[in-house]
Each structure stands twice: as structure tokens, then as C-alpha cells.
Symmetry: C4
Subunit: 190 residues, 4 copies
């Protein structure tokens, strides 16, 4: 079965998620700088979540580029990933409006479950025995595992210091912003 | 006529429906666990409807994978299906906010009419004489017919017990989550 | 220049328009039948506009199916059509909330300008000298011209009787629901 | 790596942006002409932003048409462009509701940063050494640089006269509405 619609559907969902977040940036009550200031936390959250969704989209792109066939299991592993990503706007807005321990932890929980879903999706693709992925996947999994551990730490620390948790979220994003060179080159050598 | 745009358009509509539901998950008034609790019914409804739309998307994917040509009748049978699916967010939100007999029945009515529209779409495709579908369709129709009957039962029972109805909706979703192996293998043998 | 992205972009915009209308169907205040009744006019308007957007999508599909090349003029004629279609949810909601002369006329004005934009788009495609379209276009234009005249009549009559205007909108939709057999068969013969 | 998903994702995001702006056109409180009048500034802003997003879409279309390969750098340069475009609905609504210096300047800032992001994207594509672009790009860059300068002027003048700034925004849109004939013909000669 072709991967065309899987890509198209995922592109659609991520494109919508990345843009509906902006709907929460309500029109300020007035036209002065003071009217813009209360939006700052939400705006920073928007930028961070935009980057996260951008990372998922580009990595999804890389991953499927090296995939030929998809089956029912992969379709559902992908829908599972999209489910957790679909909650990103909700937790972004909650954290933006209430920068308190629980919303900060909730943001990490959704990111962690999205990371886990991505890990499951990678495994589902590897299971189909498309060899060129196998070697590369080891490296990629390391990064996934590290991210999931960092999210877990950030979730726990949210109840100690929200700022450290927020810092970890930024750190993980930075870690992924660097494109996965090894995989690109490995796939290129095949 | 090619099926490319039919797939792209359906992917777009389902991707939007699956994501706009999350817009109803309003940002909680505060940052405590107590602020999250009133959202629980709506969240459960969101998960169920996400799964239903995911089922429709994957089955739509399987069905069209084995289809070569589309005509005006198929385009409209597909739009008819999308119309009922487009009401899923509305009834999900209504049931989530008011877990009373009528909204629970309304959820079932929309699912039943979507199921019926899917059945009509399958028949429209079979009519074009694309043989590989014919044999497989019998099995699929059985499942469609069973679902439609179960929805009808759930709608009637909503006025007796909302919980039994809700249970039936979960049951039908489970029934469809299992991918249609017979069709996949039949198509594979062609 | 290929037509792929023109189709994909138009599919995206129409898919979004057809689904965001449903966002205006606000969750009823209660769970009884009485809570559903005030939504009836808006719901009927939603069905009508869904059909209109479906008609534009299927005709757009047919038209571009018989087109090979697109240029800058066609891209903008298409954006012009999408602009008027993008106002359909707005006028649908206005007419649904206020079934008075002006909103009913406004609905007709948007449909008329969309019809005019479609006519201009057809002409832009014919201008590129893709012959197979030329012959077929005459028939299609007749229908376009008739629609535009009927819209004009409905707009004027909105200030006499809103019901006659609404009836004309339903009539024009019916007129277009029948797929353009002549063009399909002409293209088929090429 | 193919450009298919880059195009599909960009089409999706721009299609959503162009249509969610219309969600801000709230249903008027009544059915009279007087109820429509307060919406006029927002409606004019909607038309201008629709044209701007249309310009970005068509130019994106032209640019990628002459591009064969994309890499990670191009993916992120494109996401950067989409980020600034995603803020267009927000600043459009702000300017529409409050036609005062700051919102008018904010509109220009977002347009300027989008223009800059587009310039960076063009440079990222040229860097990959796809020659046919190189020659054409010089002409296109001139227009990009001129736009960015005009935006800077408009931002500064917003605090002197909002009307001059608004006039400059219209002027730049007009400047881009004319399709980039030179590039089209150059690419055609390759």
C-alpha cells in the first residue's frame, strides 16, 4: 500500500494544528503596547509549539522518505502520534494562560506521549523489514529515548520549578532542530 | 477520471474535522486539577470521535486503494459521507456538555447516517464494475450492516440508559479498529 | 506549469470552508429538543451551503480534469473564485441568524460573484487554447449565465419575499447537482 | 529529497490561514445595513491580507516549480516563512479592530519579517546550486529588497500617518500582483 495518503493526511493535520494555535492569540482589547504585554507568555508558548510541530513534521518527512510500504499497523501508529500532537494547542494555551506547575507538567506529558508515539511509529516501520531504515534507526531511537527521559524529568520538576521545566522543553527542541545528519547520509548511501 | 483529488479532498476534510474538535477543549479557568475535571466527559468524547474518524479515514484509504476510476455519482456519495462526518464534532461537543438521552441519541444518529453513507459509497464503487472490490465487499457490508443495526439499538436505548448506548458506541469502534484483513488479502491476491 | 498545486490548494480551501461552517453550530445550551429548535434555520443554511461548495468542488474537479497547463492568470482567476467562496460561511451564518431581506440578498450576492468568478476562470482556461474545453464550455457557460441571472433576480426579490429568494437558491443548487454530462462525454470522446 | 511534501504542507498552511481570517468576521448583531458598517475596516483588511497570502502562494508556486531538490535547510527556511505568515490573521484582525499607529505598524512588521523569510528561503534554494534559479533570482531579489525597504518606511510612518502606511501596504501588494514575467520566461527557456 502506498504512503501517499498517509503523508497527505499527516501534512493536513500538522498544518491545521500549527495554524489553529494562532486562533488563541485573541485580538487585544486596545491598540497600545500595554494591550500586547499580557499576550507575551502565550506568544512564547506559540513559538515553542510551532517549533515542536515543525520538528515532528520534518522528522516525519525524513522517516517516511526512507519508507516504501505502509500497512494498517503503521496507519494506526501514525494516527496515535497525531492524537497526541492534536493536544499540543490545548496544553500550549493552558500553559500560556496559567504558568503554574500542573499546566507546565501537562505540556511535558503531551510532549512525552507524542515522543513515545513517534518511537512506536518508528518501530512499526522497522518491523516491516525495510532494511535501509534498520541501521539508521538505532541512532534515531537514542535521541527519542533521551527526549522521553528529559520530558519525564521536566514533568517531575514542574512541581519544584516551572522555569527549569520550561528550560528543558526548550533544550529538547534545540536538540531536535539539528537535522538527523547520520540518517540522511546513511539513506543517501543506500 | 482519477481518484487523486477525491482522496486529497477527503483527507483534507477528515484532517480538519479531527483537529477542530480540539478547539472545543476550552482553556480551563485555572491551573489546578479541579479545573481539568469538568472537561473529562468532553475529553472522553473527543478520544472516541478521534477513533471513529480515524476508522473512517483508514477504511476510506483501504476502499479507494482498490479503486481505479471515480465518476460523478461516487464524488457525491463521498460528499454525502463527509457531510455526516462533518457533524461529528457538533454531536461530540453536545454529548460532552450534556450527557442526557437526546444528545447521546443524536451522536448515534450521526454515526448511523455516516455508516449508511459509507455503505452507499461502497455500493457506488461496486456499481462501476471494478471486480476486485466485489468479492471483498460482501464481507465489509456485513460489518457495515451490523454497525448500523447496533447504532439503531443504541439510539433507542439512549432513552433507557445513556451508559448502555455509550457502551455500544465503544463496542462498534472496537469492532472496526481491527483492520479488514480479508479485503486486504483478497486485494493482495488479485 | 503543472496544475497539481492549483488543485491541492483549491481542495484545501474548499475542504476548510465546508468544515468551518460547522463551527458556527454552537453547542446547544441544554440537552432537550427545545434547545435544538433555534438552530434549525442555521442548520438548513449549512446544508444548502455544503451542497453549493460541493457543487463548486465537483465542477472545479471536472473543469481542471480537462486542463493540462495553468499560468499566472489562471492562478489568480482561481484565487478570485476562492475569495468569494470564502465568504459563504459568513453569509450563511448571517442569513441563519437573521432571516431578513438584507442577509438573504447578501447570500445571493456572494453566490452571484462566486458564479461570475467561476465564469471568468473558465474563460481564462479557454484562452490558453486547450481545445477540448472550447466546445464543451459553451454548454457550461449557458448554465453559468442562467445561474447568475437567477441570483440577480433572487437578490432583488429578497426585499419583496425572502422565501422566494431562498427558493431560487435551492433551485439553482438543484440545477447544478446534475453533473455536466455533455462535457464529461465530450472530453471522453477526445 | 522530493519537494512534494514541502509543497503540500505549505499549501495546507496557506489555505488554512487564508480561510481562518474569515472566522473573525463575526456574524453581525442584526440584519440591517447599519449592522454591517462596523465590519468595513476588518473586511478591507481581510481583502488586503487575502491578496498578500495569494501573492505568497503564487510566488511560492513559481519558485518551487523551478526547484528539484530540497534539504533540511530549505525545510526550515520554509517553516520560518510559514511562521510569519501564520501571524497575518492576528495582525489583520488587530488592525481591523484598532486602526491606530501600533497595530498598523505591527501589520507592517509581520509583512516585513515574512518578506525577509521569503528572501532567506530563495537564498537557501540558490545555495543548492540549482542553476536555472540563479539568474532569475537577481531580479526577484530586487523586488524583495524594495518591498522590505517599503515596509520599513511604512512601519516608521505609522506613527505619523496610519493612512500613508496603509497606502504603502496596498502599493507593495500591487507591485507583486504582477506575475514575475522575467523568471517565468527564463525558466521557460531552460
Amino acid at each position: 500500500m502506498g504512503k501517499g495518503r498517509l503523508e497527505a493526511f499527516s501534512d493536513g493535520v500538522i498544518a491545521i494544528l500549527i495554524t489553529i494555535m494562532v486562533l488563541e492569540l485573541k485580538v487585544p482589547a486596545g491598540g497600545d503596547l500595554a494591550d500586547l504585554r499580557p499576550m507575551l507568555p502565550l506568544f512564547i508558548g506559540y513559538v515553542l509549539s510551532f517549533i515542536y510541530l515543525g520538528i515532528y513534521w520534518t522528522n516525519h518527512h525524513h522517516m517516511l522518505h526512507a519508507t516504501e510500504r505502509v500497512d494498517g499497523r503503521i496507519l494506526w501508529a501514525n494516527l496515535h502520534l497525531l492524537f497526541w500532537l492534536s493536544l499540543v494547542p490545548f496544553v500550549t494555551n493552558w500553559m500560556g494562560d496559567h504558568f503554574t506547575p500542573l499546566p507546565v507538567a501537562a505540556y511535558g506529558i503531551v510532549l512525552m506521549l507524542a515522543g513515545l508515539a513517534y518511537y512506536i511509529l518508528v518501530r512499526s516501520i522497522i518491523r516491516t523489514g525495510q532494511n535501509r531504515e534498520l541501521a539508521a534507526a538505532v541512532g534515531r531511537d537514542m535521541k527519542s529515548v533521551a527526549s522521553i527521559c528529559l520530558y519525564a524529568v521536566a514533568i517531575a520538576l514542574a512541581f519544584v520549578s516551572r522555569w527549569i521545566s520550561a528550560g528543558i522543553y526548550v533544550l529538547v527542541a534545540m536538540m531536535w532542530l539539528v537535522p538527523d545528519r547520520r540518517i540522511e547520509s546513511r539513506v543517501g548511501r543506500d
